[in-house]
């Protein structure tokens, strides 16, 4: 059985079927409508061309039915109305005839929803009608593409005009398409859906050509809806047919040729897969119990989607371009979201992984297409890092990242500074994870280069001007007060990349190579000095991030130390040690507690904490007394966790522990 979207299967399982008359019902209309009545309605259809008010047409059809002494129910009467209008259109397949029918369709649910089946039946029984209706549908599509024909609903008409005028001004068109055209309204071209549907059924290749060449994204999005491949379509086979047969959208160099069809198909596929969780829930699955099933569903949908797209002649440049956009969504995400099946981040990661597997044999390149936007520079680097970490590509050159930090005063106020701020602005949101996925991916080329540690250090040194901005509160380019905070945020990103380099180097260290370890210890010391320095000079909102950065360094120092015969990165005497950090904070019980809590939260490090406290002779009981006293004085300012205090008190003095 071929693959179906989850919603498609849901619809089948729930028995969702249309109760409207179908093309087949119209083809069988002679079975219950005598030929004399149909001839009379055929003659009546000439009146539609006049045009005629709907009420009058309705009355005339009724009178013909009564004259023919035919008994019909409401549905059959509606079919006769549609059949009369379809006849009129086949006789006079002109835009103005269609306009008259659309006008009447505002007053008739039957005309609005059934006319395309009546037209289809006529086209299938009469070759001449078929040709003329196809021509009319093409003409209508072209008119919609080049013009904004009047709509009865003025609000929708104005929105459609606004959208059309806005599109040429959109600077990041691919981004808008991949986000699904946020302003799109289902009603923009809905009244022409019957003709679009007709064209797709009668000449799908022609319809695809038209959609592919159209430059009006809302029209293409509307046309996709009637094919069943659009956002609300839920037909994988229709989607795959379009995805595999639509003309190229991307050139060999990765540039986009302006055709909206394929980018919208990618959006549609992503939206469908994101529905998996909802579809399972609506079908009564217990999501907690079905996590594995959900993973399998999403995995299957991703494979089917990428499998279809892989058949396209522009698959490689398309995948590279889409990967760059997908990774942009991921760089600020947190691990929990990326590992939760059903989340957008989980899906984007699965799509990236599947595309990477396909790209393996094409050696993905870092080169950006000529129409790439600024943010793609670092995001492409991140894509390459991700693929390289999966073993399907070589990492990008680190200069793409490091060159952006060589800033002078002129640069800070000029284009280069603006560019660095723009590039970095995508990477500053992940607060729950340090360093975070974005910094990790930026760090990957450095962590995998023999001189990566030196290059990062040189990069930090080349960004000294930013340090000055922070320390001396240099205003931003616009003269506002936000300059120092902007500088702080940039330096924090650069620091996080440096920390990611350290984390990756440590995790890659399989057989402790003492030469490499000495380099890493020296590099850690450099990071620790940088954080001390930033805590001295940074009085902006960014300061709290440096406080957190120091805790991260402290805990790494503890968990990477030699332990019970296991060789670590640090020996006990390497500075700064936990004792050094505690000694520096000895007059600030709140800070001391924060350090100890961070150490406690990361593994069984009680022995190390106890030893460090002993080394610098910190009296735990006195410290706890002070903290409790402070808490009594002002619980909001000095919040304490009683469990932490108790755990601290339970760290017995070493000599006590060793005594019999």
């Amino acid at each position: 059985m071929s693959f179906e979207w989850p919603r498609e299967r849901e619809n089948t399982a729930r028995g969702v079927v249309s109760r409207s008359p179908t093309e087949k019902d119209f083809l069988g209309i002679q079975k219950w409508a005598p030929s004399s009545l149909l001839s009379a309605l055929d003659a009546l259809s000439d009146r539609v061309l006049e045009p005629i008010p709907f009420g009058e047409l309705h009355a005339l059809v009724r009178s013909n039915v009564e004259s023919a002494r035919v008994t019909c129910d409401d549905e059959q009467f509606g079919m006769l109305l549609c059949w009369t209008c379809a006849k009129a259109l086949s006789k006079s397949p002109r835009i103005d005839t269609w306009a008259s029918i659309k006008d009447m369709a505002y007053q008739s649910v039957e005309l609005e929803h059934w006319i395309h089946d009546a037209l289809l039946a006529l086209a299938k029984t009469d070759a001449a009608s078929r040709v003329s209706l196809i021509r009319l549908a093409e003409e209508t599509f072209r008119k919609d593409n080049s013009d904004s024909p009047e709509l009865k609903w003025s609000r929708v008409h104005q929105s459609r005009v606004d959208a059309r005028e806005y599109w040429p001004r959109v600077t990041e068109k691919l981004d808008e398409l991949w986000r699904g055209l946020q302003w799109f309204d289902l009603f923009f071209y809905r009244e022409d859906f019957p003709l679009f549907n007709l064209l797709f059924k009668l000449d799908p290749e022609r319809f695809i050509q038209l959609m592919s060449s159209a430059r009006n994204p809302d029209l293409v999005n509307s046309a996709l809806l009637v094919t069943g491949a659009g956002r609300f379509g839920s037909s994988f086979s229709e989607w795959a047919y379009l995805a595999e047969s639509a003309p190229r959208s991307f050139n060999e160099d990765g540039s986009w040729n302006g055709s909206c069809l394929v980018p919208l198909l990618l959006f549609s596929a992503r939206s469908e897969i994101l529905e998996t969780r909802g579809a399972m829930y609506r079908m009564g699955r217990q999501l907690e119990a079905s996590a594995v099933e959900l993973e399998q569903e999403i995995g299957g949908a991703v494979q089917a989607t990428i499998g279809s797209l892989s058949k396209r002649s522009d698959a490689v440049p398309m995948f590279m371009r889409w990967s760059t956009w997908l990774v942009r969504n991921l760089i600020s995400s947190v691990e929990k979201d990326r590992t939760t099946p059903g989340s957008p981040e989980y899906l984007d990661l699965a799509l990236l992984t599947a595309m990477g597997e396909y790209l393996r044999s094409f050696e993905p390149k870092a080169d950006l297409p000529p129409d790439a936007t600024e943010w793609e520079t670092w995001c492409r680097l991140c894509v390459l890092s991700f693929y390289a970490s999966n073993g399907v590509a070589q990492p990008s050159r680190s200069e793409v990242f490091t060159d952006a930090w060589q800033l002078s005063w002129e640069d800070w106020f000029g284009a280069q500074g603006a560019k660095t701020r723009l590039l970095a602005s995508r990477f500053t949101f992940a607060k729950d994870e340090v360093p975070g996925l974005g910094p990790h991916l930026l760090a990957y080329p450095l962590a995998n280069a023999s001189d990566g540690l030196r290059v990062w250090r040189d990069t930090w040194d080349s960004a000294q001007m930013l340090r000055e901005v922070v320390e001396f509160s240099v205003p931003g380019p616009a003269g506002g007060a936000s300059g120092p905070y902007e500088g702080s945020k940039l330096l924090l990103l650069l620091f996080r990349v440096g920390l990611a380099v350290l984390d990756q180097c440590v995790s890659q260290l399989k057989d402790p190579d003492r030469g490499k370890v000495a380099d890493l210890v020296a590099y850690y010391q450099l990071l620790a000095e940088i954080v001390d320095d930033m805590l001295e000079i940074d009085g902006t909102l960014g300061r709290s991030e440096w406080v957190s950065a120091r805790l991260h360094l402290i805990v790494r120092r503890v968990i990477w130390e030699d332990d019970s015969g296991r060789e670590g990165i640090f020996s006990r005497t390497d500075s700064p040690s936990l004792s050094d950090y505690l000694d520096r904070a000895r007059h600030d019980p709140v800070e001391l507690l924060r350090i100890i809590e961070a150490v406690f939260a990361n593994g069984r490090s009680e022995a190390k904490a106890r030893r460090a406290l002993d080394d610098v002779r910190i009296d735990r009981s006195r410290m706890v007394d002070i903290l409790r006293r402070l808490n009594e004085l002002d619980a909001r300012r000095y919040p304490v966790d009683e469990n932490s205090l108790q755990r601290l008190l339970n760290l017995r003095e070493e000599d006590q522990e060793n005594s019999p």
């Binding site: 691990e335 990326r338 590992t339 990661l349 970490s389 949101f429 607060k431 994870e433 340090v434 360093p435 975070g436 996925l437 990790h440 991916l441 506002g480 007060a481 936000s482 905070y485 990611a500 984390d503 990756q504 440590v506 995790s507 009085g539 902006t540 909102l541 300061r543 709290s544 957190s548 805790l551 991260h552 805990v555 790494r556 968990i559 809590e597 961070a598 406690f600 939260a601 990361n602 619980a635 909001r636 300012r637 919040p639 304490v640 966790d641």
Partner: protein, 214 residues
């Protein structure tokens, strides 16, 4: 993917006690735990020229130690229909807000997320900038300089909110009307919710990141 995770997890900061949950109706007495008792109170409030905001909220803001984050499309607009908005009304509203932020305020991270109004320009917001500078000048021993930021992308790049709310340190306040309790119709606020526990901090960060400073 966990090869790019962090080897370290820091315990969540906080632990500050959150005040008891409470519902407070806006009133000309500065807040009441009960609905207005009769038409007299309702009418008095309805036609108040300069409605009294919630005292409890003002006190909470003034005593904040860390953050004051506000999401409200109409925080700077005085009550009544658009055509009745005057520069004087807007100035009065901002003056009321400034009263929550004395020069001695300790909170550093003050952010207001609102929507664009043609009546609100840089000059209307100048008193906030001035207050930020004055606060920083007043106290030289702050860890972090006070920052009062305003963004107005609600209803444009982040057009997804309906309710108004505020986060004061770790406490979430939910408002039926204008944040601070300026509404003259019958309206209430509920307080005492943990902002972290209910995802308010993450939500605010997301909404805030969708635009740039005004």
């Amino acid at each position: 993917m966990n090869r790019f995770g962090s080897p370290v997890t820091l315990p969540s900061a906080g632990g500050r006690p959150i005040p008891e949950k409470q519902i407070i109706w806006c009133s000309e007495t500065g807040g009441s735990s009960r609905f207005p008792v009769g038409m007299e109170d309702i009418i008095q409030r309805r036609y108040a020229v300069d409605p009294v905001p919630l005292i409890a909220f003002g006190e909470a803001v003034a005593a904040a130690l860390d953050r004051i984050w506000i999401v409200d499309e109409y925080i700077f607009m005085s009550g009544g229909p658009r055509e009745q908005q005057t520069k004087d009304g807007i100035r009065k509203r901002i003056d009321r807000m400034l009263a929550w932020m004395p020069l001695t305020i300790e909170a550093s991270d003050i952010r207001i997320l609102t929507k664009t109004h043609k009546e609100i320009t840089g000059s209307e917001l100048a008193p906030l900038r001035q207050r930020e500078a004055d606060i920083n000048r007043q106290s030289s021993h702050r860890d972090r300089e006070c920052s009062i930021q305003v963004r107005d992308h609600l209803s444009t790049t982040f057009n997804y909110t309906h309710d108004r709310f505020a986060i004061v340190d770790d406490e979430l306040w939910h408002f039926g009307g204008t944040v601070g309790g300026f509404l003259t119709s019958v309206s209430a606020t509920s307080r005492g919710w943990s902002a972290a526990e209910h995802g308010a901090i993450q939500f605010f960060e997301l909404a805030w990141s969708m635009g740039t400073e005004k």
